[in-house]
Symmetry: C2
Amino acid sequence: MPLSSHRRSVVLKRRPSGSPQPSDFEIIEDAIPTPGPGEVVTRTVFLSIDPYQRGRVSGRASYAAPVQIGEVMTGESVGEVIASADPAFKPGDTVAGARGWQTHTLSKAANLVKVDGKAAPLSTYLGVLGMPGTTAYSGMKDLGQPKAGETVVISAASGAVGSVAGQLAKRAGARVVGIAGGPDKCFYVQDTLMFDACVDHRAMDLRAELQAVCPDGIDVYFENVGGAVQAAAFDLLNPFSRVVMCGMVSQYNEDEFPPGPNLGFVVGKRVRIQGLIVSDKPERFAEWRALAAPWVADGSLRYREDVIDGLENAPGALTGILGGQNFGKLLVRVGADPA
Amino acid sequence: MPLSSHRRSVVLKRRPSGSPQPSDFEIIEDAIPTPGPGEVVTRTVFLSIDPYQRGRVSGRASYAAPVQIGEVMTGESVGEVIASADPAFKPGDTVAGARGWQTHTLSKAANLVKVDGKAAPLSTYLGVLGMPGTTAYSGMKDLGQPKAGETVVISAASGAVGSVAGQLAKRAGARVVGIAGGPDKCFYVQDTLMFDACVDHRAMDLRAELQAVCPDGIDVYFENVGGAVQAAAFDLLNPFSRVVMCGMVSQYNEDEFPPGPNLGFVVGKRVRIQGLIVSDKPERFAEWRALAAPWVADGSLRYREDVIDGLENAPGALTGILGGQNFGKLLVRVGADPA
């Protein structure tokens, strides 16, 4: 066991080829840092594992800088302040905004936001109230814009983003159809998240099954997956439909990407296909926390968490989320809840 | 020769397979109609030949109803009123808005608009001041939104739409690169239309040539072509770029469409790809005529027309435009200019 005055960090050992493996990472130890002026040290309680993190360990150019070999792996966390050299934070505060797969994190105070672990479980600030929830919110508000009576299709519907995206579309009065992997997830999407239907993407004939539950076509498609799921959904897009391009997790482990859809239909159907990166509209984070916290508190916004114990299991968790093995928002518990 | 009291019309004889052939059409004769209340009969001076017309003779579902076998082929025309049962029009008026490959057309007065053949040549109301010009205008105003200093790429740059789209982007202060077929068109695009560069899509390595003239990537891509041209342009799209999906003429004669681009880049680059049909914003037509007529008059908005003589040559003109054989706005002269 490490001494409690030390911290452990997961660093990138080599760039994964295909599916990332735990052996692509290693754990290093060093002393818990001391904050300089304007800095804060937190003890990590939960780490967030998200599909976008695959892009950060790839050498490919992306919208964000990659993690370098030997650097601490990136990812959102929530935790408790243990030392602060900034007047805005004091030991015992619970905060979100720290980054890094580490037991203790040194952050600039400006990057942190206090969160109320009493109002909602601390973990929710990484999921339903955090980056994934905000992604769903911005995707629907800024791009998807579902209207009452429209049909909205959500891929990876049981996931951290999809589950919120679909519930928001329901609140807008749309008919909401999920696509998820396997009967358990589909049952959850229909029975707990209250989507109107859910199609298993492992179905023999995904296209036919999706068409059967979208008799009026698709007005908004919230894309998290790509590949065959995308092809099936695109075939059903209506005139003036909107595609929220949030992710294409099916190809994150690929070096070569398969061809995509012929885009001729975009012209005649006046489809709008647009990419979404949540950090482009940072104001959405606080907006969403304010909007959704009461819905989490009253139980009307449903979410599910899949918690794996131990920092050392973070690499395997990333492997799993890229294969769809998680069920709900995937978290790694790194430390005990604050007293 | 037909009697002058008769009219000739080109009707669809069978749905073309691949490239439409003159033998897919036939000419019928009937009496020049008499207008009923609210109707107007015009004598056609020019017909417009446009790539979208290929879609109208296909059986495939589209945003507009197809021409049925035995029906008069559709297409915009300009002409002279010869009989009117509507107070808004009188014989001798020159009008746009009539449709149909015919020497004489019976129209609802509400569909016609008077145009001033003295202010600008009558033919321009089918091209630079008509549907193609308005398409370019709406495409740039509503979707492309080029800004000063951005790089804008226009495919089919010497065509009726592309030539206007590029000149509008120049007026917005953008750097404008055309893609056109062959050295003559490329020379025209650079020398007359004053684009900053033009790449021949028949180049050995289109990708490399386009990259060489777009060192800062592409911020707006105005798509008229599809296929390999699209693939080359998409590779160079910048973060927050916009793709105006106006047409994909390279595949209009195909029954099976080739695969398209993998859309993974849309997410990380926050690209917006959106379809454009000019008739969705009918107000743009009058806006554009008012805006552009002075530019046509003072010569600052350049255009080129490719005029084929004789109604009977309209089917062959359609064949030609789909193969890129026209050079500038393609028109068929059906009758003499008004006195």
